[in-house]
């Protein structure tokens, strides 16, 4: 199974979103916050190679010397951003390329270095296993999370008929 970087990210954020996205039921298009992220991506690292593709599985934001870079709007989901970047480093290492990662939040003027050590490697493998299990199973039921408020999938998840049936 080929898992994309965004799917690793979703795995850390919401299993239901991961499952839906994997089956082509995604709502990223036309969502303002997703658009904002795209604009940020286009304006970041003007002079670097952008959107480096690893075997059609993962598209990295940019590669800068010994670093793979990933840029995000806010650090609210830092654990997921970190897993996504670790996954890129893992994919590169599998192909014999050793790099480190830089996770940037330009709005917060914050950049974190990410290194794929043994523990982190285990973490990626464990997550991959988790992703596999989610995708093989049924759609995880909706339950409200803090992140739902800004999620592009929110109206889909919360659509339905409330109140008593007439």
């Amino acid at each position: 199974m080929s898992i994309r970087g965004i799917e690793m990210h979703y795995y850390a954020v919401c299993k239901r979103k991961l499952w839906l996205f994997n089956r082509g039921i995604g709502f990223e298009q036309q969502h303002d916050r997703v658009e904002e992220g795209k604009v940020l991506h286009e304006h970041a690292y003007g002079r670097l190679d952008k959107e480096i593709n690893i075997d059609d599985m993962a598209v990295m934001d940019a590669v800068d010397g010994e670093y793979v870079r990933e840029v995000k709007i806010s650090s609210k989901m830092e654990h997921a951003d970190r897993l996504q970047l670790l996954y890129y480093l893992y994919l590169l290492k599998e192909r014999g390329v050793e790099k480190k990662g830089l996770l940037s939040y330009p709005k917060e003027k914050k950049t974190t270095e990410i290194v794929l050590g043994l523990d982190e490697n285990m973490e990626v493998l464990k997550a991959l296993d988790g992703v596999q299990k989610i995708l093989e199973g049924n759609l995880p039921r909706y339950r409200k999370l803090k992140v739902c408020a800004k999620c592009a999938y929110r109206d889909f998840c919360e659509s339905g008929e409330g109140g008593d049936d007439v």
Binding site: Q30, S159, E161, G163
Partner: protein, 329 residues
């Protein structure tokens, strides 16, 4: 969230692209720009020239182009390439068509939603319609035992017949009303209903297009009957919710009168002036909002249709059983 608008073009002329802007030039040579970025649907009622560079700019901005014939009936749509494809959803949609018991659940739900809004319209008209409401209520329970699509269609037809019988009580004007006539409509009221239902149909198509549903796989209507038959299914719920009250209001307030129709050998159609009045009112209605009980925020009637599509996806992928929208106020 996208909040695009609908742009209607009635006059003959030319649509063209200049740099990255879209212009409409009428027959007198007067040119005006169209806000392509805020446009979601372009409806052409007049005879309009355009070329492929127009289609390119429409694709870039994800704008659909709907074409209507001389009588204002829907001919077809230019769809920009659609990236919202989910093979998984289409397979599950098909499963709910192929399995009769699953198909019946959805077909009945669409009828129930529609009939709920028919009764709602009758109830709002006062005491006179009580007998009609009772009859419809007696008919609609027959849905429970209907075990074939023709049987469901039969119940729907009976309810609709009673509903249309009550139209003389709902319309206060000098328009005569005998019965529903289509292809062609034989009187002004029928012309309004046909035109309005056609607009609802294209509106549902536009919203379905923004989802992963395949508009050709339907449940109440046979998929072979029309290209986008799922749109017909979903329109069943919204025609009596949106179109009929709109017609009653336009006619009862004398905003639409006999002079807004053309009669050609017994075929009656809305003229340009009449279409403009209707479409302005329709557009206003679709843009108006109400508080959604589940989302707990205001949504437009147009967006309500998208939410209906979402519910249908949730149903076919085994997430949440579909319940048709039923206005509760």
């Amino acid at each position: 969230m996208s909040s695009g608008r609908d742009v209607f073009i009635f006059s003959a002329g030319k649509l063209h692209r200049k740099h990255n802007t879209l212009y409409f030039t009428d027959e007198e040579g007067k040119s005006r720009p169209l806000p392509v970025e805020q446009t979601e649907n372009l409806h052409l009622f007049g005879n309009v020239d355009f070329n492929t560079s127009l289609l390119h700019i429409l694709t870039q901005h994800d704008v659909r182009l709907h074409v209507y014939n001389h009588y204002g009936y829907y001919d077809g749509t230019y769809y920009p390439r659609n990236s919202r494809v989910s093979g998984y959803t289409v397979v599950r949609q098909s499963e709910h068509y192929l399995d009769l018991s699953k198909r019946l659940v959805l077909a009945k739900a669409f009828v129930q939603g529609g009939v709920h809004h028919m009764i709602r319209n009758l109830r709002k008209a006062g005491e006179d319609t009580k007998a009609h409401i009772d009859t419809i209520n007696a008919r609609v329970v027959l849905l429970d035992n209907a075990n074939s699509i023709p049987a469901v269609m039969g119940v729907e037809g009976q309810c609709r017949q009673v509903y249309y019988d009550a139209f003389t009580l709902l319309v206060k004007s000098n328009f005569t009303w005998v019965s529903r006539s289509r292809r062609p409509p034989q009187d002004p009221l029928n012309a309004l209903i046909s035109f309005g239902n056609g607009m609802m149909y294209t509106t549902v198509i536009s919203e379905l297009y923004k989802t992963m549903l395949d508009p050709a796989i339907s449940y109440l209507h046979e998929p072979s009957s029309k290209r986008f038959s799922l749109s017909l299914d979903i329109a069943e719920i919204f025609k009596p919710l949106v179109i009929d009250p709109l017609i009653f209001s336009l006619v009862n307030n004398r905003r639409i009168q006999s002079k807004h129709f053309e009669d050609t050998d017994g075929m009656v159609y809305l003229n340009e002036e009449g279409r403009k009045i209707f479409l302005a009112a329709f557009d206003e209605k679709m843009k108006s909002t109400f508080k959604h009980r589940k989302l707990n925020r205001n949504v437009t009637y147009r967006y309500l249709i998208r939410l209906e599509a979402y519910k249908l996806i949730k149903h076919v992928i085994g997430d949440e059983t579909y319940k048709p929208f039923k206005a509760w106020w």
